[in-house]
Amino acid sequence: MYTEKVMELFMNPKNAGRMEDPDGVGEVGNPRCGDIMKIYIKVKDDRIVDISFETFGCASAIASSSMVTEMVKGLTLDEALAISNKDVVNALGGLPPQKIHCSLLAEEGIQAAIEDYRAKRKAGVEAKP
């Protein structure tokens, strides 16, 4: 039911695991099945220079996480925000219809991490003496 690409990333996910000292963290949940995805980013000069994820979910959610982290690494924040779950699904060579919703977590996770980074930076700038 899954493409080879999905299985490959599910079996050997890239950028997996927690990050020490991230600049932004996004945690999103899937209201349908209760799954959770957490994205950590390091940002330099408005670019995502490092990224990792943690996912509590099915193979499709894990593969989507892995794929999206590879896709946005090196992109500017605005470029990363433009990545949609459709882009992730296409890059994976497709997902079964009942598993498309898992890829939404990937899109939302990136957005949440970037928002967190921007909010922190804003707060940091304001807090500076």
């Binding site: 899954y2 799954d35 943690e54 996912t55 509590f56 099915c58 193979a59 959610a61 009942q98």
Partner: protein, 391 residues
């Protein structure tokens, strides 16, 4: 590719045993007769069906005349439930079942509800056991039927069937038991237990798929759901699936032998080894269902902070076939209703896993599965945001 292949999904289905296959083979092309024909070909087929009926009856302590062959367990459940409810609908309209039944039972009850019957669904405790006191208080003067499974397919718990039967017998309420998981794997006698109707399925005991049996106690009248040529005492019309029925008979024979030769005791030892290995070597891993009142071949768990589908696919890649009741595997994205009925949280139900052993499962298989699972759990937990945050 992998070191071993270990099929541990015998609750889903079993391989047809060699002896069963060999018994069946002549009934496709050589002894192909219609059991309802008068000639030699027909008589040979009739004889084979009758012998199979004897064997299936012997497995559960029934008389051959009390066994009806069907097209599987689901059909037998439907026949028992709908057939009994319709026969007794003038006596009352209240029917009772439990929250953890197979869909073949639950959905038949929902259909009865649509037909104007009133349905009470009994809850279960945290080990998936029905409380007898709940059954007693659910019974009304107009209760006509109670259906309770012998043992649950997802969590293995064996129900207090004999006690429930006694209560129903005393009150003249028909008592149906879905014995699909238990028949052939646990020794029991329908007469001693006071069971009025018992569902069995050949493919859960090394027989072919699409063949089932319904024991109907002598004297119990039910309506058919398939009308036609009047086969199976008018309760299941249609030319008999001779080869399949012969296969069921051979499977019942095999099961009866296994019940007496120490095989089940060994299965229990292996099951307990798996349960102990998993719960002691994996942190935050829990047995689901009852520890001792459970199917001899059944070990089911919830693994904290993990999701079932991801574990199943990693197990599959290691050559291990198992199953899960997780939301992500269900299509409906709801976790198994059985786990929820036991009070297991959505989150923990996510990590549900079922291993069901078979007659060819070896000790080395158990060791292999326990080792692989431990590694898979560790690898996937390294990916799980819940694992590090657990309180």
């Amino acid at each position: 590719m992998t070191e071993r292949y270990v099929y541990m999904d015998h609750s889903a289905t079993t391989a047809v045993d060699r002896s069963v296959l060999e018994a069946m083979l002549p009934y496709f092309s050589e002894e192909f007769g219609n059991p309802n024909s008068l000639h030699m070909w027909g008589r040979k087929a009739r004889k084979a069906v009758n012998e199979a009926r004897e064997k299936v009856a012997a497995l559960v302590g029934a008389d051959a005349a009390e066994i009806i062959f069907t097209g599987g367990g689901s059909e037998a459940d439907n026949l028992a439930i709908k057939g009994a409810a319709f026969t007794r609908r003038d006596k009352g309209r209240h029917v009772i079942t439990t929250a953890i039944e197979h869909h073949a039972v639950i959905d038949a009850f929902h259909w009865l509800e649509d037909q104007g019957f009133e349905v009470t669904i009994l809850p279960v405790d945290e080990k998936a056991m029905v409380r007898i006191s709940d059954l007693e208080s659910a019974i009304r003067p107009d209760t006509i039927l109670v259906s309770m499974m012998f043992a649950n397919n997802e969590v293995g718990t064996v129900q207090p069937v004999a006690e429930a039967a006694k209560i129903c017998n005393e009150r003249g309420i028909l008592f149906h038991v879905d014995g699909v998981q238990a028949a052939g794997h646990m020794p029991f006698n329908v007469r001693d237990m006071g069971i009025d109707m018992l569902t069995m399925s050949a493919h859960k005991m090394y027989g072919p798929k699409g063949v089932g049996g319904l024991y109907i106690r002598n004297g119990v009248k039910i309506e058919p759901i398939v009308h036609g040529g009047g086969q199976e005492r008018g309760l299941r019309s249609g030319t008999e699936n001779t080869a399949g029925i012969v296969g069921f008979g051979a499977a019942a024979d095999l099961a009866l032998r296994r019940l007496g030769d120490g095989s089940i005791e060994e299965e229990v030892r292996l099951r307990d080894l798996l349960i102990d290995s998993v719960t002691s070597s994996i942190e935050d891993a829990y047995l689901t269902g009852h520890r001792t009142e459970r199917l001899p071949f059944h070990a089911s768990f919830c693994i904290g902070s993990l999701e079932g589908e991801s574990m199943l696919l990693r197990l599959d890649a290691a050559g291990i076939g198992a199953s899960s009741g997780s939301a992500c595997t269900s299509g409906s994205l709801e976790p198994s209703y059985v786990l929820l009925a036991m009070g297991i949280t959505h989150e923990l139900a996510h990590g549900s896993l079922r291993f069901s052993l078979g007659k060819d499962t070896a000790r080395e298989d158990i060791v292999y599965v326990a080792e692989k699972l431990k590694k898979i759990v560790a690898d996937l937990r390294a990916l799980s945001p819940l694992w590090e945050n657990r309180g």
